[in-house]
């Protein structure tokens, strides 16, 4: 299977600040990949570059075999329909109910009849572990964990092939965080979705990630399975894995 995400020599600069100094890696389909790195190491920026929201200073990004930054607007729109994104703070539309939020991608991008949209919304709610009655709530009435779940349900609406998650478990209590992890794992296994997850959560990484990518000093520090990463001798990685013992 060809890689679904290919990143080649990405450089990003904001003014005089060099965020990425040449990052190269690729992600195989059907895997759950975790991207870790210190705060400010450019994880969110990289994510935005991959999904075509922010142009890197130089370098090439291929998503599902298509060059993101060489695509026409129309191609990019079609490509975006094949990916789902969960933003760091949920980014639910505050003027729509939860149900309308989940239905929004279906209503905007397809012409499926309304009663089927309703059925699919109900399925998405249940899949994300939410009660059906949540559909009528407004985003402002949700707790942090519920917001993340609704955002996940919305990200899943168009049956994406790749799911991008920016810190999905930050702000959740450990129990809910683990539930969320196993939910994502189930989706990844049963739907064959590739999951690309930016995270700080050591537990997510140890329990569900197939592969870990470590970003630091504007470069790719390491990439591999948990065991391989543990074996890498780099001060930040060492600190990262021993932080659990310290706390």
């Amino acid at each position: 299977m060809p890689p679904v995400i290919e990143i080649q020599d990405i450089k990003t600069r904001f003014g005089s600040q060099e965020v990425h100094k040449g990052v190269t890696f690729s992600v195989e389909g059907g895997q759950l990949v975790a991207l870790i790195g210190g705060s400010g190491s450019g994880k969110s920026v990289l994510l935005k570059e991959i999904i075509g929201l922010l142009r890197p200073t130089s370098g090439r990004i291929r998503l599902l075999g298509q060059d993101v930054w060489k695509s026409s607007d129309d191609q990019l729109r079609k490509l975006r329909n094949r990916i789902g994104v969960l933003f760091q703070n949920g980014a639910l539309f505050s003027s729509l109910t939860v149900g309308e939020n989940i239905a929004a991608p279906l209503r905007e991008q397809t012409s499926i009849p309304e009663e089927l949209i309703c059925a699919i919304v109900q399925l998405r709610l249940a899949m994300s572990g939410l009660k059906q009655s949540t559909a009528r709530k407004m985003p402002s009435e949700l707790s942090g964990g519920m917001t993340k779940r609704v955002a996940l349900a919305r990200a899943l609406a168009l049956e994406p092939e790749i799911l991008f998650l920016d810190e999905p478990t930050s702000g959740l209590d450990p129990i809910n965080a683990r539930r969320f992890d196993s939910l994502v794992r189930t989706l990844c296994d049963s739907l064959g979705i590739t999951v690309f997850m930016v995270t700080h959560d050591l537990d997510s990484i140890t329990s569900v990630a197939d592969e870990i990518i470590v970003l630091g000093d504007g470069k790719l520090l390491a990439k591999g399975s948990l065991e391989e990463i543990r074996g890498v001798d780099h001060p930040w990685i060492n600190d990262y894995f021993s932080s659990r013992l310290a706390s």
């Binding site: 505050s94 109900q122 059906q132 402002s140």
Partner: protein, 383 residues
């Protein structure tokens, strides 16, 4: 034993139906995915007919592609046709599809009774509207009460005034507003003088243009025009600023730091506006009269010396004060409405827009009502 097959756009069938003594077998073919739902749905809605209590076998042995929406489509159609879940058997599902069908099976939600949105009659809506309006009035009254209490405290202990915030606000609502207020009142002064010059010329009462322009500007036009500008400019800004802070939990953060939003946000804004408005109105008076003076010179040949000499005789300080006294009252109302709407915003982005609009409308209406009240009071007092 008849087998029916339905074709998709490329001529390949989506499914075939096989009826036997055991029940109905639906053998799926091709790609049952979200992208094809639009093609499939009308067909199966038309073609699938079930007998009561008939067993239904969903056969996935020839299916190429499947996603959860595809499974949901089938389940939805079966459910709508009154087929219970016990009647349905999934058979020969390919291994790569089994986890998808399982995921959907596990999450088949008990359909929620969908509430049909209530439609209200005219009378009911009028009632709801009235109750809402009354509730709003009550809230506003409560807010005015709270604000008055804070002001009372400040009179007792003036050190509670937050000087820095007030000065920042004063710059925004006063200094920054001078150009637009001056421009508008200047133009109004010109228009009033121009229209009056036509009339006064007819009667040979040229010099009376001074009386008319000066009195109209000072007593009515300048205060009202400036108040409307301030409502649109500063009142809406108050709502937007405070509302955005509220959306961002900043108000809660303030309170948790032991600060009162009333003191930190509302009082400085009120104070700034109450100081700013009379100043702006005075600027308006001067500039408006200046505009009239230019027109008097151009149209009627009244020199500026004559104009000012006449102004001295016909514009008593009292008239000027009438306008200037109204200004701080307008200001207090605009500031209170602006801050109140900002603080009572709901937690969504639409609410911010609606409240900002509402602030401007409420402010302008209340300014005009107040002005009418002032007119009556001044007449009764013989001023």
């Amino acid at each position: 034993m008849g087998a029916i097959a339905r074709a998709n756009s490329e001529g390949n069938p989506w499914y075939s139906l096989h009826e036997s003594s055991e029940g109905l077998t639906i053998r799926f073919r091709g790609s049952w995915r979200l992208a094809h739902i639009n093609e499939i749905y009308p067909v199966i809605l038309r073609e699938w007919r079930f007998k009561p209590n008939q067993r239904i076998f969903l056969d996935g042995s020839e299916l190429d592609e499947l996603d959860t929406s595809g499974v949901m489509l089938v389940r939805h159609v079966l459910r709508e046709a009154g087929v219970s879940e016990e009647q349905v058997v999934e058979s020969n599902v390919k291994p790569e599809h089994s986890s998808i069908t399982k995921l959907v099976r596990e999450n088949l939600a008990v359909p929620d009774p969908i509430e049909t949105p209530k439609h209200f009659g005219l009378l009911e809506r009028a009632g709801i509207g009235t109750i809402n309006a009354l509730a709003k009035c009550k809230e506003l009254l409560a807010f005015i009460g709270q604000t008055s209490l804070v002001w009372l405290k400040i009179f007792v202990n003036p050190r509670l005034i937050r000087f820095r915030e007030s000065v920042v606000q004063l710059e925004r609502v006063c200094v920054d507003a001078v150009p637009i207020a001056a421009l508008v009142t200047f133009l109004i002064g010109i228009v009033v003088a121009y229209l009056f010059s036509i009339q006064s010329e007819k009667y040979g009462a040229n010099l009376f243009i001074v009386d008319a322009a000066a009195l109209a500007m000072c007593r009515e036009l300048s205060p009202i025009i400036v108040a409307i500008i301030v409502a649109g400019r500063s009142g809406s800004a108050f709502t937007a600023q405070i509302g955005a802070m509220k959306l961002n939990d900043e108000i809660d953060a303030l309170e948790s730091l032991g600060l009162s939003p009333m003191q930190v946000l509302v009082v400085p804004r009120m104070l700034a506006l109450i100081i700013a408005m009379p100043l702006l109105v005075f600027v308006g008076d001067v500039v408006g009269i200046f505009g009239a003076m230019i027109i008097a010179d151009l149209r009627l040949g009244i020199t500026s010396v004559t104009f000012i000499d006449r102004l001295n005789q016909v514009l008593p300080v009292r008239s000027l004060l009438v306008g200037l006294i109204k200004a701080p009252v307008f200001a207090a109302f605009i500031a209170v409405i602006g801050c109140k709407m900002g603080l009572s915003i709901e937690r969504n982005a639409t609410s911010l827009g609606l409240s900002t609009t509402s602030t401007v409308v409420q402010s302008i209406v209340s300014v005009i009502l107040l002005n009418a009240a002032f007119a009556i009071i001044f007449v009764e007092l013989g001023i």
